[in-house]
Amino acid sequence: MIRLRLVPRAQPSRAMLFVAPLLAIALTLLVGLLVFAWLGQNPLRAFRVFFVDPVSDMSGVSELFLKASPLCLIALGLAIGFRASIWNIGAEGQMYMGGIFATGLAIAFHDRGGAWLLPAMILAGAIGGMLWASITAALRAHFHANEILVSLMLTYVADYVVKYLVFGPWQDPQANNFPITVQFSDNALFPLLAQWGWEAFEGTRLNASVLITLAAIPLAWIFMERSFLGFQLLVSGLAPAAARYAGFAEKRMVWLALLVSGGAAGLAGVSEVAGPIGQLNDRWQPLYGFTAIIVAALGRLNAIGIALASLLMALLYLGGEAVQITLQLPKALSQVFQGLLLMFLLGCDVLVNYRIGRVPAAAL
């Protein structure tokens, strides 16, 4: 029997570090073809329905951006924390809080708002996400609580806060007891790009919130790759003792990482409630906060990588819906593909850092 072992590579190839995600995508598609065949479909046709048809027209492309935008925004914030080894798993809850804070303003100024209302909601949403994340930050920085558990559990709390509000005080009186708030007034909604005279987006739901994400990508890139604060975060993640030795305050790093990721998730929440949904309701559970963790990993904690990964992940969402409608396949295929992608990515990463060798039979 030939016994195999993993041998560490002396100098992992830098190029392979970037090829690995592409390889993982290719392998995912390949296995995807097999899955389609196994489900009794013509693999090429199913492939086209899943991956090509959803983005074959402008309306599809708009939907892609609409889904990719919050994913990208959240993942950028998470990546900044992940580089400092601060594992905020609760972006979903921070996103809910962003949505709640923005909704509060939208309801309070439903008939009285002006052009200031939307900017105020954006600000409130970011603050809401930060406040929710700051609970985790305080417990981690001052009581050494595990930020993974705290942030995850707070997500469920945030979910119940949403439910309480839409079933209770914020319920639309004219909604026949449906758990929804009023539809936001125009002042409380992101304008559609089509309304700004971008004819290409005529008839699509794409709104101005994508501009926030577009602005966030270069800002996050500069912060992570060029700023001294980004460097300090990276050091405290890689070698906490070195950070202490250099005088980078650990508590400050924890607060910074959680506030940035919480704020980004809060903004994503605003872009949802003041965007395609236009209200707060109990069905709003896009799981962007969790999917963004995969996006951040797939994008190599790099701003540009994350932007590309968010597009891919959005396509998986759309493809899942498309095969359900067109081929009556389960929508859960989206998650199958997400899982395959993550697994192949992790596998490729192992091979970037290690090579497979035979256990020498003649070893002493």
Binding site: F228, V235, A242
Partner: protein, 514 residues
């Protein structure tokens, strides 16, 4: 000649980027203390790990008492009767000393009985050790004691000691040598890995010398001089330190009755420490690890704040409550004991590691990192200190210990300090790098910088420093001019026997009538 207890032939081992051993032979007789001599990176540690079964060779054979054997694991090596004290300790930090030793020994898991055996063995060999302490609380020196005691408990037939004396007092070294000679007299073979030439000449019966993965010779060390051994080991002349006369200037660091609580439940509290370091002089603090060095260094560098602000004065200013960054602004630089993970970030490049502490020297503008000044600074460190590496993009973890230490010392020195605090400047560093580092420290002091060295290597302190003190039990001895003291006196002080020291204080207390 009798059959060697251990004979290695043609051992070869390649790692992804280096050929660690290139067809090496070694023969050890029963009852022999056999030195394996070579610089760091010569392949000594790899060869020892092969004997111990922790690393498998690519080629070559190993004979144990005349029979070819294959050792697949340290467990099999221990069954043969081979024990090893590693240079880098293989201890679990979160459990106690006795639990660590129990894990390495076969047999029933009776911690109480084992603890009393540990106490007995450590007593007999002069290696004081509390079996119930957690390993993460122990200093480097204390961890090594755990390793030595662990091996002695197994009554080995071959004992490998990888640089065992670097953290012992001179008296403890003598005691250990006595132990090793007794063991050898009883027929135990000892492989003694070191680059300390005087120890090898005094202790060892034979020496095999390695250089760059090859065996370059076998000699009787007693018939060689330190110079000839060094020349064989490094392949060229042995550099000598150039001393200078010392003219102290103003007080750069002053500790005034500094008392600090212990660093964790097993740390050592500092008691009433008084110390002055002047510009232009090198003061050394000798002492066995775990006697308050960690607390002293943290209190000086600001990693731990002191309630009494005036107890630490930097350049005349009270600094006890200033953090690390503020103290660096006052001209303090620091070379820590742990090079990887504290002095540097292992997976980061050298230029990023330059940024770690030197960032305030024009490398950050408007919150952004300026790459050119950082690169220029890094290159100056690499060239000025002869750092052998793959350029400023090389990762810190890819450098050998000596080269990494040269880089760290260079990085700190180039920040125009007023006071440099160095912990264990040359621990585990090869001869050539040691000489360079010590020379650079001496030259820095000659330019008027105050230097404080905290080291367990007494030879280093006596060679490098102008004035010397000893830390024992959290108290610091009076400071003496290095020419007015001796290794013997320092050794007694290390055991706490100095005016106001822990041993004397105990005696004084006895004298007081009840």
């Amino acid at each position: 000649m009798t059959t060697p207890i251990l004979a290695l032939r043609g051992i070869r081992k390649a790692y992804p980027s280096v050929l660690a051993l290139d067809g090496v032979d070694l023969a050890v007789q029963p009852g022999e203390i056999h030195a394996v001599l070579g610089e760091n990176g010569a392949g000594k540690s790899t060869l020892m790990k092969i004997i111990y079964g922790a690393v498998r060779p690519d080629a070559g054979t190993m004979e144990w008492r005349g029979r070819v054997v294959r050792v697949h694991s340290p467990g099999e090596a221990r069954e043969l009767g081979i024990a090893m004290v590693f240079q880098h300790f293989a201890l679990f930090e979160s459990i106690t000393v006795v639990e660590n030793i129990a894990l390495a020994l076969a047999g029933p898991f009776d911690l109480k009985a084992l603890a009393s055996r540990i106490a007995e063995v450590s007593q007999r060999y002069g290696l004081p050790l509390n079996p119930w302490r957690h390993v993460h609380e122990l200093s480097v020196g204390e961890r090594q004691r755990v390793e030595i005691v662990r091996c002695l408990l197994q009554s080995p037939k071959l004992l490998i000691m990888d640089e065992p004396t670097s953290v012992l007092t001179p008296q403890a070294v003598e005691q250990l040598f006595g132990t090793l000679r007794t063991l050898a007299g009883e027929g135990t073979a000892i492989v003694y890995v070191s680059h300390k030439l005087d120890e090898i000449r005094r202790l060892c019966h034979r020496a095999t010398i390695f250089r760059a993965g090859r065996r370059v010779g076998e000699v009787d060390p007693a018939k060689e001089t330190e110079e000839s051994l060094a020349a064989m080991m490094i392949g060229r002349e042995f550099p000598r330190m150039q001393r200078r006369s010392h003219t102290p200037g103003e007080v750069a660091l002053e500790l005034v009755s500094l008392s600090v609580p212990a660093d964790g439940p097993f740390g050592t509290p500092l008691r009433e420490v008084n110390l002055r370091v002047h510009a232009g002089e090198i003061v050394g603090i000798a002492g066995v690890s775990g006697n308050g060095q960690a607390e002293l260094l943290e209190a000086i560098t600001g990693e731990r704040l002191v309630a009494d602000s005036g107890a630490v004065r930097l350049a005349g200013q009270p600094a006890g409550r200033l953090g690390t960054t503020r103290r660096r602004e006052l001209g303090l630089v620091h070379v820590p004991e742990e090079r990887l993970g504290r002095g540097t970030v292992p997976p980061m490049s050298l230029s990023e590691n330059a940024l770690l502490t030197a960032y305030r020297h024009g490398m950050v503008r408007h919150g952004l990192v300026m790459r050119e000044p950082a690169a220029a600074f890094t290159n100056a460190c690499i060239e000025g200190f002869d750092v052998r590496c793959g350029g400023l993009g090389a990762k810190a973890q890819s450098l050998s210990g000596g080269n990494l230490q040269k880089f760290i010392v260079g990085r700190e020195m180039r920040q125009k300090p007023r006071l440099m605090v160095v912990a264990q400047p040359t621990w585990g560093v090869d001869v050539a790098a040691t000489a360079l580092i010590r020379q650079q420290i001496v030259d820095l002091a000659a330019q008027g910088v105050a230097v404080l060295i905290v080291s367990e290597d007494l030879g280093e302190i006596l060679e490098t420093c102008d004035r010397v003190a000893v830390i024992a039990g959290g108290r610091v001895s009076p400071v003496k001019n290095v020419f007015e003291t001796s290794a013997e006196e320092i050794g007694r002080w290390m055991a706490g026997m100095f005016p106001g020291g822990p041993a004397m204080a105990a005696k004084d207390a006895e004298r007081v009538p009840a």
